[in-house]
Each structure stands twice: as C-alpha cells, then as structure tokens.
C-alpha cells in the first residue's frame, strides 16, 4: 500500500517537474547553451578584480590568481569561505561521531595475517607519496586537498588494518592544529590585506608548481586535516566493529 502510494507520488512529482521544465512561458531556459554569465566568465578570464587580459598564458605573472585549475581557484580562493565551512562540516561530523561512539569499552586486538602486515607499509608509502602529489598539484590538475587527504587516511587505515593498532591521539591534535591553521591563514589575510581568507602570499607564475603558494598551503592544511579526521573518525567506528566480532 505504502509502495503504491510512493510510486504514485513519484509519478506526480515527475509529472510536475516535467511540466515545469517543458514550460513554454517566457524567460531564460536552463539547460540551454547560454552565454556564460558574468561570474563564471570572470573566474575563467581572471577578471574579477577588473583587470582585463586579452589572453592568459602559462608562465604569466601578475594575474589576480595563478591557478590554472579554475575549479581549485574557485574552491580555495574566490569562495574559500565555503571551503572553510566544508572543512568545518567534516570536523563537526567526526566530532559528533567521537561524541556518540567515543569512550566505550576497550577493544580486543587481533593480529592480521603475515601477507597484509608485510605489504602494508610499502603500499602505504606509495599511497602517501601519491597523495602528496595530488594535493601539491591541486591548482594545476584535478585533485587537491580533499582527495589527497582521503588518500593519506587510506594509507593510515591500511596500517591500522595491517597492525591492528589504534589510531593514536596524535590525529586529534593534527586535526586541531590543521583546522586552527586554516583559520590563522584566513586571519593573516585579514590582518595583512584587510579581508578574511584573502591571498596575502602574492601570486606567482601561472602553471608552475609553486606558482600559487596560497592555494598550495591551504590544500596542504586541508589534506592533513582531512586525513586526520577520516582516520580518527574511522577509529571511532573500527572499535565498534572489533568489539562486535568478539561478542
């Protein structure tokens, strides 16, 4: 009964959305090739601060933002405040998990098999190197602090699985300091340039590895933070699993 009602309801909603999207009333239509709007165009052309360029070349200096990955530029520079919020969301979620599941019974440690425990450090090392690459190149290629951090966390988790060690309290501190340094970077921008999260490190050559230091620094912070958070969050969960195994 409930299912039939749900299907009916979904049918109604679908029809409503179809009607809205195929409406012939005047006004600009979405999902049509439109001339890109001011905002995105300015991001792409790096003309937000009003300086016009006829074209932008790799190696160019003095641009308002020297990241060649525009998504990264948007995420960390133009809309860096959103990203701070995003980091906070993750932080809040992990803290919530810690509050809800933390402080429970001691876990029972069982050692892993020899294959895992001998291979895990090597694989983890490669994972760490790759992840460092990913977040250092965040402004040049797709990637950045979030995937990089997740990869670091994966490496650590591999170690945890291999040696059945508890993710240590160091992660908590790393989490703290990484979060705090994000805010501090923002505040430095506020003190030096007058606006929170403003780029105070200047812009370098577009397309070079350390060309946009500000983004690299922030992505490194985010990478560490995400890694620490995911690890400690996993720690909260994994304790549960191990307990259940033995009950």
């Amino acid at each position: 009964m409930n299912k039939i009602a749900a299907i009916l309801m979904i049918g109604i909603i679908s029809y409503g959305v179809y009607a809205a999207f195929s409406s012939t009333q005047p006004g600009s239509k979405p999902f049509k090739r439109k001339a890109q709007n001011d905002v995105s165009r300015a991001y792409l052309a790096k003309t937000v601060n009003g300086k016009k360029h006829s074209s932008i070349m790799r190696g160019m200096k003095g641009l308002e933002n020297s990241s060649s990955n525009i998504v990264t530029a948007v995420v960390l520079d133009y809309r860096g405040f959103d990203t701070l919020g995003e980091v906070t969301v993750l932080f809040a979620a992990i803290a919530g998990i810690g509050l809800l599941l933390g402080g429970q019974k001691k876990r029972v440690i069982t050692p892993a098999g020899p294959i895992i425990s001998s291979l895990a450090p090597w694989i983890a090392l490669f994972i760490l190197i790759t992840s460092a690459y990913v977040f250092l190149h965040g402004h040049l290629t797709p990637g950045g602090g979030f995937p990089g951090g997740a990869m670091i966390a994966a490496g650590f988790l591999l170690m945890v699985l291999g040696f059945r060690t508890k993710p240590s309290g160091v992660f908590r501190m790393l989490e703290s300091f990484a979060g705090l340094s994000f805010v501090l970077v923002g505040l430095l921008g506020f003190l030096k340039k007058g606006s929170f999260l403003q780029n105070f490190m200047g812009t370098g050559e577009m397309g070079s590895l350390f060309g946009s230091l500000f983004i690299t620094v922030l992505y490194a912070i985010i990478g560490i933070k995400v890694a620490a958070e995911l690890s400690s969050g996993f720690g909260s969960f994994v304790k549960e699993d191990l307990e259940e195994e033995h009950e």
């Binding site: 009333q25 520079d77 906070t88 501190m173 705090l180 505040l187 403003q198």
Partner: protein
C-alpha cells in the same frame, strides 16, 4: 564593522582547538568554550551599540558576486546577539548541570554557534547551505548526546527530514544558478522574476520546503517533538531559541531579498502565489502546533510544539510583508527566544529533580521552589503574549499588521487568534500544576548560583522588555527600511555598492 567576521571565526577557531585541549585539559576546554561565547556576546553587543549603517564584509578580498560577502545590518546583528546570548547562557546552564558532558559537546555547541552566525550574516545562497549543514550536523550530534535512546531517535528523525530539505535546497540552487548565473542574494533579487516562471516556482517551492524544515513549519516539523524531548534541555532550549531563530531569519532574508518581495507586495511566479503560501502555511502551523502542544503530557514536547506555533505566527508576519509585520516578527522572534530558553532551563532542572518530563507528575514542586515556579510563569506568560511580558508587543503588532494588510485574509487572522487560546491554556495549566497540592513529596531541584544567574537574567529580560519595549523598539525600528532593497541603506543597494556599481 569588519570585525564582525570574528562572530563567525572566533567560535570556529575555539572549536578547532577543543580536540587538542580536550586531550590535554578537559576542564580548560570547557571553560574556554564558555569564555569564547561570552566574548562573542560582548563583541556582538559592542557592534550593536556602535552600529550606524549596513555594511558588507567581503571574504577573500573578492567583491560580490564573485566572492562571498557577509551582510551586517541591524537585523543580522540583533539576531547574532540573541544567538550569542542564548548560547552563552546555554553553555553556562549545561556547565552547572549535574550531567557532565565531554569537551566534544561544548565544541559542537561552538560549531552550532558558528554556523548559526554564518547563516545570519552570509549574503550568499550556497554559503547559507553550508552553514545550514553545519548547524544540522552539530545539532543532530548534540541532540543524540544524551545517554538515552530518546535523543538518538529524535536526532535520526531530524536527520531524515533535514537531509530531504538539504537535497531540495541544493536542487533549488542548481536551478537558480543555471538560470541566473549567480549565487549572490542581492544579485539574484529580481532575477527570479526574469526566469521562466514555472522554473522559478519550482525553485521557490524547493527553497520553501527546506526553509520550512529549518523553521519548523507544519508538516515539515514531524521531527520536532522527539528531537526536543530527547535532547538535553540546554540543547532543546538552543534549538528553540537559536536554531529556529536562524531558520526564521533565513526565511525572512530569502523571501525579501531572493524572492524579491517589496513591502506590501504579493509575490507570485506565474500562477504560484508565494505570499498566500507563507500566510496559510503559517495559519496551519499555528493551529496544528498549538493543538499538538495542547495534547501533550510531556513538558518538553509541549514546549517544542509551542515553538512551532510561534514560528507559524512569525511566518504569517513574514507573509504580510509590511513594515509593521516585519517589526512584529523580529520582536516576537527575539522575545520568544528569551522566554523559551528560560522555560527550557527550568523544565530541564525539573526533569532532573523528578526523573520524568511528564508534567502531570510535577505537582507541587513549585511550592517548595516558589521562585522557580514564578520564573516559569513569567516565561509562560512571555511566550503566550500577555501584556506586561515580552511576547505581547510582537504578537500585538503582528495581529495589527495582519488587519491592515491587503495580502492577508481576516479569516486566517481570526483562526490564529482563536488558536492562541489553546496556547494560554496549556501554558497556564502547566504553570498552575507546579503550585498544586502535591500527591507525593516533591524532590529537591538542583539549583545553584549559575542557574539562578541565567534564569534571573532571562526572567528580568522578559519583564523589562514587556514593560519598557522602547529600547528594543529603537533597534528594531531600523530593520524594515534596511530590508527594503530600494533605498540607500537597503540590503541590495549596500551590496551593490560593495560590488562597485
């Protein structure tokens, strides 16, 4: 004025510090959490006193609409002050409780504080979403933080509805962005009108659904009873006095700026009449909320549903969209926050004294603790809107503006007036039960200097605002003209000035 960024950043930074401090010195982290909230309160009061004209704070040095901007005006400052005050008192209350909480608990309260201030100050649609999510996550964790399952159930229910709401909100953002190409509220203003009206109506519908969830409007409020009941009382108080306040703020801001309502205008997209939606949803919410509260034997559920009723009335005021109604809505929101926080504090202590939240088993507890009982009466009368108590002027003005406005239906106003009779009845029923002849010997209520300070401050505020509304009146007076986009001190023109246009 640009220091208003600290209203968001300071608690956030403190929250980031807590895992470290909590590891080293738990007591210090709790104390610092309280001090941060207190310092923020002082800062917001300072900003409120020195406030002159609306101000746009840009983020990352990028002018709107490219960067994110914070908008500081009387409305946002006033609400930020209320949120800060409520959270400060809430933390103090929780610290004085016999139930000891982990440092993470206080950290999440700080994150809640951050996010509510973010919601209040931001001028960007997507940024609002981010802060709404932080508020959601931290409040679910806080609701579930009690040792009892009731809180977890409440949090899960809230989570399910709020996740649906956030999906709706994101979809609306996608539609609005794909049509208008911007996320800045001031720039979108009016842009919705140029959109295809069916698309605009769809976007508005989705936004309304999500904001209604945030604001506890029927029937998006199915989680309210369980969540408020299961949460620790300090958190129930904050849900009602700060979270719902921020939700109402978002509703106010978005309906005037994004939907482009002028004063006294009826907003419609095609055949979709937004004003009447807001108005009638408000009426329905008042009736259902008051009826639900009327049936409750559980004090916390009762207070929760009473908040719903109040929010319904405020939604109606937002719908009416005249200067008076906005004034009334803001006044009612602020006074509701104060009174409801007071009530939740008292109820929290009564719950721990009696071991139950069933108020029919609280008989006679006010005879021994007469000041507690009197404070409860003050809070109850404050929420109900009885003259000489804070809630009156807001309710009075809202009703008055409803009778003046063309967009409202007198029938709806009469229905609301009749429904508020129930509100008076259930509040005074509970207040009187506290003074009834006890069936068994009532337990001792755990009070202390901190508790008395908090409740006395709130009770005094209720009475003083009720008797001398003029000081608060002087602040709120500025809001209606600042909300309007068309004059020099209005929201839209301020942001456009920051854009350099």
């Amino acid at each position: 004025m640009k220091y208003s960024i600290f209203l968001i950043v300071a608690p956030m930074a403190m929250a980031f510090l807590v895992p470290f401090l909590g590891h080293v010195m738990p007591a210090l982290s709790k104390g610092l959490s309280f001090l941060t909230a207190l310092a923020g309160t002082v800062l917001s009061v300072f900003l409120l006193i020195t406030y002159k004209t609306p101000f746009t704070v840009i983020m990352g040095g990028w002018i709107p609409p490219f960067g994110i901007n914070l908008h500081v005006d009387m409305l946002s400052l006033l609400f930020a002050t209320v949120v800060y005050g409520a959270v400060t008192l809430g933390i103090a209350f929780q610290l004085s409780s016999v139930v000891v909480k982990k440092p993470y608990f206080y950290m999440l309260i700080l994150l809640l504080l951050t996010s509510l201030n973010g919601m209040i100050l931001t001028g960007d649609l997507f940024n609002l979403f981010v802060f709404m999510e932080i508020a959601g996550i931290s409040s679910w964790a806080l609701i579930a933080s009690g040792n009892k399952t009731a809180g977890v159930r409440g949090a899960l229910q809230y989570m399910v509805v709020a996740s649906l709401a956030s999906v709706a909100y994101l979809a609306a953002i996608a539609i609005i962005y794909s049509s208008t190409g911007t996320l800045n509220m001031a720039q979108i203003s009016g842009g919705l009108r140029e959109m295809n009206s069916a698309m605009a109506a769809l976007a508005v519908l989705l936004i309304l659904a999500s904001l209604f969830t945030e604001m506890e409007i029927f029937p998006f409020n199915s989680w309210v009873g369980s969540a408020y009941r299961g949460a620790p009382s300090s958190i129930s108080g904050l849900l009602s006095s700060a979270v719902a306040l921020a939700g109402a703020y978002a509703m106010l801001r978005i309906s005037y700026i994004v939907f482009g309502a002028g004063m006294g205008n009826i907003i419609r997209f095609g055949s979709f009449n937004i004003t009447s939606i807001l108005f009638w949803m408000g009426v329905v919410t008042v009736v259902t909320g008051e009826a639900s509260a009327f049936t409750q034997k559980d004090a916390k559920r009762m207070l929760a549903w009473s908040s719903v009723g109040q929010m319904g009335m405020i939604l109606m005021a937002i719908a009416i969209a005249s200067e008076k109604s906005i004034y009334g809505a803001v006044f009612a929101l602020i006074t509701h926050s104060i009174s409801k926080l007071l009530l939740f504090m008292i109820v929290g202590r009564l719950v721990s004294a009696t071991g139950t939240s069933d108020w029919t088993r609280w008989k006679g507890i006010g005879r021994k603790n007469s000041i507690l009982g009197i404070f409860f009466i003050i809070g109850a009368l404050g929420v109900t809107g009885i003259p000489l108590f804070a809630g009156f002027w807001g309710k009075f003005t809202i009703i008055g503006s409803a009778f003046k406005s063309t967009g409202s239906s007198y029938l709806g106003v009469y229905i609301i007036l009749a429904a508020t009779v129930m509100e008076a009845v259930y509040f005074l029923r509970l207040a009187h039960a506290l003074f009834e002849e006890p069936e068994r010997k009532p337990g001792k209520v755990n009070t202390g200097i901190v508790f008395w300070t908090c409740t006395t401050l709130l009770a005094l505020a209720v009475v003083i605002i009720g008797v001398f509304p003029a000081p608060l009146d002087r602040k709120i007076k500025k809001i209606p003209s600042e909300l309007r986009g068309d004059n020099t001190s209005g929201y839209i023109s301020t942001v456009y000035k920051a854009m350099g246009r």
